[in-house]
Symmetry: C2
Subunit: 352 residues, 2 copies
DNA sequence: CGCATTGCTGCAAACGATTGCAGTATTGGC
DNA sequence: GCCAATACTGCAATCGTTTGCAGCAATGCG
């Protein structure tokens, strides 16, 4: 096949071990041989075989990243960040996509473990806590974005409660009183926390929480569309909608367009998470940015830390929070109390 | 560490080689020992160490996928398809992201080769042909989506010329005569081919090709926006725009919104490649689908074929084409010859 | 009953690197 | 000039598997 250490050693007329030591920079060889071997290795195009090395050292230089999908922009940037960071450190990323399916997650975890990854970053479904805990005895693991309640693994989370709070407060400050929210399933941490942030902001402003304005559901455009319709059909429809569930946004936008409503004139819209087309959409959509790249970076940091401090299982902190950031664009405007009912009108395109 | 073959052999009171043969399903062991060993292995939780196996067999069971980014929806689905297909075959995908940067591509290629991947699917930048050719002697490689002119590696391409032809003809059939096109850089195969399909369709319909209607540039929203502005500012602006460059679409949509133009009433819009929000956008945007998942599937097929038929370098076909598909939605309508100039009007929302 | 065939099984050598231990120059001190 | 210390270098074992070859029992045939 390719050039092995043996070939280099042969060419340099030294033993394999000397060659290994010289190239490995162990400092146990003379300056001269080291330089000579480096030169010869380069000339021959020698590149160490990580498989053989791995067998001896017990490391694969591979790190697994397990996400739900790639359609979600947050996962995209996380994947890109993780791959870039790891690459710089000589690791390679093994990217796996397990949907939101616990069975598939479990299988994939097995595959990853089989491949002897040196570390693992997982966005858990939440249904494989025991499995993850068991695996954590073999491999350093860090959970990302979601908490798996079945385990106490180190977890890097977005501060969803704070994010939703900040977003809701922004809308309140603009004068909105009836604020609809479309949020993720209550059996996910993010769903629960975003909802709690919303409620907290309302309470703080002494606004009555109206259950009719709260819609929780799966992460799909269809669900978002359905929720949006219900909100708009209310006798007293909201003047602002906070779509705190990224995937639902597409559906919401469609319904708004269908009804001929104009943003932000007829309705203020605030969304969650970053997506390239939120910026380019007209009007540009204001968002609460959950800081996907910060999350990914922190997860890598923590994983690296764990991989270094091998073995010492318990080191205090088990949960890290990354702050959310409000990005104001053009989809929210101060509440205008002039009577305007649901989808009836669609006037006012005049530039103010 | 974990359970090794030795442990299994010891527990079963057979030699390591017998254990290996029994579990490997070589058919060289008696039915009885085979079953016994399988049972014991399961009980002990034995899982073969791919690193050790790899060292012996020279295989890593890893396949590299090198793409430009993950923001492009086509790359997303390709990554998902490749990972799913490979997983089913016991391979794992090593996903690398090298932007459109030849240097980074070259580095990444090295990393991938170092990790001894069993195969490689590459979306080439086009600047590392020699490198790829050299690498192909060691590793089966299939190029995807783009052709690298510096090499004659097997390549799976979208039929971009056909796609652009079909799209353009569709617009012509709707009665459009002045059709603007925004297309990729002419130094990429896709850029050239899409343009050629456009020109072919026009010629076929005996429509004069007007260079002012053709904009080629980098794959970025900004470029798209700039091109779109120029098109709309023409003395005789187009009645339809074909954005045959996926990344540019965001910019185009923004400019259209900024000018208060309505699609498809004021302008027909046809885009290239699939993206989830094209469907959910109102009006839903018609596209020419390049068949990303077909492309990925075919690339995997070809790669597997190469990996089987190891060594025999030259087998006739070197280029595979995957047909494009026109997906009609709501962003194109028949040409209305009534005089309507640029951004002046924005009437007509009445449901037809 | 003897011998060749068949069917399993075990021994041992790989695969390509790392590393503890022992051996050999080289140097300096006395 | 001799010996100890120092500085390299080489031998060989090892990581967990696979696999060619040889050994050995059981079987069938004459």
């Amino acid at each position: 096949m390719s050039v092995t250490l043996k070939d280099v050693a042969l060419a340099a007329r030294v033993s394999i071990s000397t060659a290994s030591r010289a190239l490995g920079g162990s400092g146990l060889t003379s300056e001269r041989t080291q330089q000579r071997l480096t030169r010869i290795a380069r000339e021959l195009g020698y590149r160490p075989n990580p498989i053989a090395r791995g067998l001896k050292t017990g490391q694969s230089r591979l790190v697994g990243l397990l996400v739900h999908n790639l359609a979600n922009a947050s996962f995209q940037v996380m994947a890109e960040v993780v791959q870039a960071r790891l690459k710089a450190l000589g690791y390679q990323m093994l990217l796996c996509i397990a949907g939101d399916d616990p069975q598939l997650e479990s299988d994939t975890l097995t595959t990853l473990a089989d491949h002897r990854v040196d570390g693992l970053i997982v966005v858990p479904t939440g249904k494989n806590g025991a499995r993850l805990t068991a695996l954590a005895n073999e491999i350093p693991i860090v959970c990302l974005v979601r908490r798996d309640d079945g385990t106490d693994l180190e977890t890097v989370l977005a501060d969803d409660s704070e994010g939703a709070y900040v977003g809701t407060r922004y809308l309140i400050e603009l004068g909105h009183r009836r604020i609809g929210i479309i949020v993720g399933r209550p059996d996910t941490t993010s769903g629960r926390e975003r909802l709690s942030g919303y409620v907290r902001a309302l309470r703080e402003a002494s606004i009555q929480v109206d259950d009719a304005l709260i819609h929780a559901g799966h992460f799909e455009p269809e669900t978002g569309a359905a929720s949006c319709r219900k909100l708009l059909d209310l006798a007293e429809p909201p003047s602002a909608i906070f779509v705190a569930n990224h995937e639902a946004t597409l559906g919401v936008l469609r319904v708004i367009a269908e009804r001929g409503l104009s943003i932000p004139d007829d309705l203020s819209l605030l969304c969650y998470e970053h997506s390239p087309w939120f910026e380019w959409h007209r009007p540009a959509i204001s968002i609460v940015d959950n800081g996907a790249s910060d999350l990914a970076n922190l997860a890598v940091d923590r994983l690296l830390h764990r991989m270094d401090a091998k073995g010492n299982g318990a080191d205090g902190v088990r949960e890290y929070r990354v702050g959310a950031r409000l990005v104001k664009r053009d989809s929210c405007r101060p509440f205008d109390p002039s009577p305007r009912k649901s989808s009836a009108t669609k006037s006012s395109r005049a530039k103010a």
